[in-house]
Symmetry: C2
Subunit: 243 residues, 2 copies
């Protein structure tokens, strides 16, 4: 919560390394210039909060680099990690478009550079270029899919299956698969945060890891994970019912 040490930086949308991955890639140069003018760029350190649940929504955040966790809390103070956002992802477009306050919070998990594109800018771009709206729509559609999938999982699958699923998802971005089906994974998350992602307590996370070790499904040392046979993880998924 050290809101003080966020450093303003001056970046350029045209040279942004993540440009190709953003929704903004459908914009013309003129339109992109608008974004470039209307944005504020900032650096965040791990633990820094980009916005809080309940904060007023002033525009849309675009991740240039780093890793962001989207968290949501309930009345009782239980917190879960809804998803991870990566360079090129746009955050907060949803609350912005719906005209709501933010309904979840965003926290840097790694040192990150994030641009805030002001509300006025976004609105005028949406008018100028309807394709942009459709891009956001597709994005929302995907997020919705993921969320519904997660609802289903969290009520029907046991913890082992959910954890296996998490590892398989992380594999795509953080894993290296070698030719004979073995997998090496460098986790971007603490155990606590992994627990928060599948909606369990840290203690249960520890126990689940241990049980994977005991069953020789995966081996953990710090944030490095080695899985000898990926199929074992996939098997875990179906293990919800022991057919």
């Amino acid at each position: 919560m050290n809101d003080g040490d966020k450093t303003e930086t001056s970046r350029n949308c045209f040279t942004c390394q993540s440009r190709g991955r953003t929704e903004w890639c459908v914009l013309t140069d003129d339109e992109l210039a608008l974004v470039d003018q209307g944005k504020i760029s900032r650096q965040y350190l791990p633990g820094d909060v980009i916005f809080h649940e309940g904060d007023e929504c002033h525009g849309v955040h675009c991740i240039e680099s780093g890793l962001i966790g989207i968290r949501k809390m309930d009345a009782a103070g239980n917190e879960i990690l809804l998803r991870l956002n990566h360079p090129g992802d746009t955050m907060g477009y949803r609350s912005f478009l719906a005209g709501n306050d933010h309904n979840n919070s965003a926290e840097a998990l790694e040192p990150s550079v994030i641009c805030l594109v002001g509300g006025g800018t976004v609105r005028s771009l949406l008018e100028k270029n309807p394709t942009l709206g459709l891009r956001f729509l597709k994005h929302a559609a995907k997020d919705l899919d993921d969320a519904e999938e997660k609802v289903l999982q969290s009520t029907t699958s046991p913890v082992r299956a959910r954890f296996a699923h998490l590892l398989l998802v992380l594999k795509d971005r953080y894993g290296v698969t070698d030719e004979d089906g073995a997998l090496d994974l460098e986790l971007p998350l603490s155990r606590q945060d992994m627990a928060a992602m599948i909606g369990i307590r840290p203690e249960s996370m520890s126990r689940t890891i241990r049980s994977f070790e005991e069953d020789d499904i995966a081996h953990f040392s710090g944030r490095r994970v080695h899985v000898a046979r990926i199929e074992d993880l996939i098997l875990e998924l179906e293990h919800s019912t022991e057919l």
Copy 2:
């Protein structure tokens, strides 16, 4: 699954009783005429399936009347009821826009009349009238909110709280609140389906109902529910942690 007895009917978008509630209300008369031509209207009986998970998505469904349940199933055959859709709601816009197959299924819970607006029609309308896209976007934003809320609830709240929450949601549409805080509710759902909505088994639903009766929180007879003090339901929500 009696796909045979779906009756085709001939309805008119201009006189549709639900018109004002749909996303389509932003259309001009000309555009609406397009929808009217390009639609196929059908009647469904309770239990009839409008579309299945995995079905190809040919367009967008619009509910004229009735009640639809959106279900999703996992690999092990566990099914949950993600949400209810009412007259004026549009279904399947998401898979359609994302270009995917349907990723959940829709089943009539009451006799319903539903129009299918063909993909071509929708696409050309989106081009003609960008506002329509923004309406869908807002809709998606709300669905996403609800879904994320549900993820949180299903991992953090105990069954009693989730059930209380469900009753409070149903209240808005199916309840009558009298002056002194008492609530009468006519449930649109079977116990099984209520169980599916909060991700539990029918047996647990029964037990939860009984425990509400024993605590004098609510009284059930068939699908009629009487709640003497709504505050009791609200209290249940926070009861996740006994502060």
